[in-house]
């Protein structure tokens, strides 16, 4: 079917239309007169693909383009000798937590204001600040406590005891006794936390369990005053000295996952206090995306003239092919939620250069072959056949190396790498469009 010219043209039109619909923001269309009544919109859709809703209402704006949230924590222990070392440690742990939490674009630094050390975290506005504050605030510690007065225990007392920090006494089990934590799903699908103890930790836990059969052992995290759970120890758990306990309860969505990140990248040497969030305006102005879009269009118009002067009709076809490829590129950027920042702008220009360089290479080859008085149709087949190799090598080399580099990349660089990967995906499309347009314009007939 791909050999049929009409089919290829329809396919290109469909891909172009889909790309434009993806790129466009939601534009309301409202017409109400005697002849016509329309109340609809175009663009900014939220299609559901494989059960997942893809939000295409707007590009994902990075810190430079969409502004940012600056979250400031006061670091505890101000005034002590270790505060500088602790602050540095807090910064390192915060960076690890951000990385484990899947955040790609952020900045973490320590500032000193009025003699107080502060941890400053800057993230784009699309980030959930409340979740972030919880993730960074927790110390990552875990403790087990038993009742001060075991005789007062009864199921009806549970709610009162949970709200009463003074009713609990710490045991000697600490995070140093735990070798790992794991999250699994319970029989009813709820999250549960499995605590894997070291041998000495297992012995300590077994001792506590034996002393508290049919009594609660409270589980505290992040040095908080109130327990997360107060599971009651049953006889079978106390009797099995080798078992790793599993905590089952109705945890809020993402609660255990965030504690796991805190635990695995912690513990914080000091507590963090009173997170405050501040809005910071975008560095590149409020309507950068619109301005950049306009600049791209003007750039295309200027280069269209250049191509027209250099290669006449074939030059225009190249400009059209590059334009269609860039539309697909931007649509994929939106679909894959790549953050728009200055690195993405650089990536877009790099992709554009790849497209243009390949296009010009083809046009110069066509010119050369045409000068030998060969028929245009034959020239196109020959040149595209030869150029196919170059396209293939560039795509393979850049696509796979960029995916490897992506593993270690962080910050704005991630957008640049994604843009090159997407550019590699669009290169075959450029090849396909340019060949089809050249053939349709008379290549085969000649």
């Amino acid at each position: 079917m791909l050999k049929n010219e009409n089919f290829r043209l329809v396919l290109i039109s469909l891909i172009f239309s889909a790309s434009v619909l993806v790129i466009l923001p939601r534009i309301e269309i409202y017409v109400s007169n005697k002849l016509l009544k329309v109340d609809s919109y175009v663009g900014g859709y939220s299609p559901k693909i494989f059960g997942k809703v893809i939000d295409l209402s707007d590009f994902k704006k990075g810190m430079d383009v969409g502004g940012m949230e600056r979250v400031v924590f006061t670091i505890g222990d101000a005034g002590t000798e270790n505060v500088e070392t602790n602050s540095q440690l807090v910064k390192e742990i915060t960076e690890k937590r951000m990385k484990s939490g899947g955040y790609k674009e952020y900045q973490v630094y320590i500032s000193k204001t009025d003699g107080k050390y502060q941890l400053v975290v800057e993230v784009p506005k699309y980030v959930d600040i409340n979740y972030l504050a919880v993730l960074l605030n927790g110390t990552g510690n875990l403790t087990f406590k038993t009742l001060k007065n075991p005789a007062e225990w009864g199921p009806e007392e549970a709610a009162r005891l949970v709200a009463s920090p003074d009713s609990w006494l710490p045991t000697d089990i600490s995070r140093s006794d735990v070798s790992d934590l794991a999250i699994s799903k319970g029989s009813t699908g709820q999250d549960q936390l499995q605590i894997i103890f070291k041998p000495e930790g297992k012995a300590k836990f077994n001792k506590v369990a034996k002393e508290n059969v049919n009594k609660p052992v409270a589980f505290f995290i992040n040095d908080q005053d109130f327990p997360v759970l107060i599971p009651v120890i049953d006889e079978s758990l106390a009797a099995d000295a080798l078992v790793d306990p599993t905590l089952t309860g109705y945890f809020p969505q993402g609660f255990l996952q965030s504690f796991l990140i805190q635990y695995k990248n912690g513990p914080l040497p000091v507590k963090l206090f009173s997170p405050e969030a501040f809005d910071v305006a975008p560095k590149f102005g409020s309507n950068f995306i619109e301005k950049f879009g306009l600049a791209l269009l003007v750039g295309f118009s200027a280069t269209l003239i250049l191509s027209l002067i250099r290669f006449k009709k074939e030059g225009i076809l190249l400009s059209m092919s590059v334009f269609l490829s860039i539309c697909l590129f931007l649509a994929l950027v939106k679909v894959f939620s790549v953050s728009v920042n200055f690195a993405l702008v650089a990536g877009t220009l790099t992709a554009l250069l790849l497209f243009v360089e390949k296009g010009y290479e083809i046009l110069y080859k066509i010119k050369l072959e045409e000068s030998k008085d060969k028929p245009f149709g034959y020239v196109i087949e020959k040149v595209f056949g030869e150029q196919g190799d170059i396209f293939k090598y560039v795509i393979i080399l850049l696509f796979f190396t960029m995916l490897l580099v992506l593993r270690s990349a962080k910050g704005e660089l991630v957008s640049f790498i994604y843009s090159i990967v997407i550019g590699c995906l669009c290169l075959p499309y450029l090849y396909f469009v340019f060949k089809t347009l050249l053939e349709t314009s008379g290549g085969k007939k000649k």
Binding site: F288, F292, R310, L353, L354, E412
Partner: protein
């Protein structure tokens, strides 16, 4: 200033990984890709490719250092600048290498390696010149219509476009002689 530059260079982890992986890939896949070429010429082509990449990067670094020296621009985007340079250089040099492969395969036996390269390089020159103008037009559009700050960053990338283009347009003949000396 120089120590700041060297410290920044040391943090360009992604660039170093990228460069290492590219050189590794080229070394591994040169045999199947260049199987129609004599072994000695195959080695010369690989050498030409890698020397050309290195030359582009070294000259781009020197140009970047000069740019910072005159404009007081910060070093913070060096990693991105180097990645951009490497991608551009790979793209230009891969096209060149595949063209050289074709020239060598087609060439008469009496034609030397340098002569085969000469034809490809001449055609490359005009294309590279057009690419420079194309980039310049987009740079001007972004500079005047989008944002000056990002325009200055893209302007910095223009240095890299110039360096890579000139290396791929003028240096292959010199690098070719060098690779002929290395692999006699």
């Amino acid at each position: 200033m120089i120590s700041g530059f060297i410290n920044t260079l040391e943090t360009c982890k992604e660039f170093i990984i990228f460069f290492g992986v590219v050189v590794g890939f080229v070394a591994i896949f040169s045999s199947p890709v260049l199987k129609s070429v004599q072994k000695i010429n195959r080695k010369r082509i690989v050498a030409l490719f890698i020397i050309s990449l290195c030359l582009s990067i070294v000259l781009s670094i020197v140009a970047f250092f000069g740019y910072v020296l005159f404009t007081k621009y910060s070093y913070e985007n060096l990693n991105l600048y180097l990645l951009f340079t490497l991608i551009l250089s790979i793209n230009l040099n891969l096209s060149l290498v595949v063209n050289i492969r074709r020239e060598i395969s087609r060439a008469k036996k009496s034609m030397s390696f340098s002569e085969s390269v000469g034809g490809s390089v001449r055609r490359n020159f005009r294309k590279v010149f057009d690419v420079i103008i194309y980039y310049l037009l987009f740079l001007l559009a972004i500079l005047f219509l989008a944002n000056r700050e990002i325009g200055s960053f893209i302007g910095m990338l223009f240095i890299s476009v110039l360096v890579c283009s000139f290396v791929s347009a003028f240096a292959p003949s010199f690098i070719c002689k060098l690779s002929e000396r290395i692999f006699k």
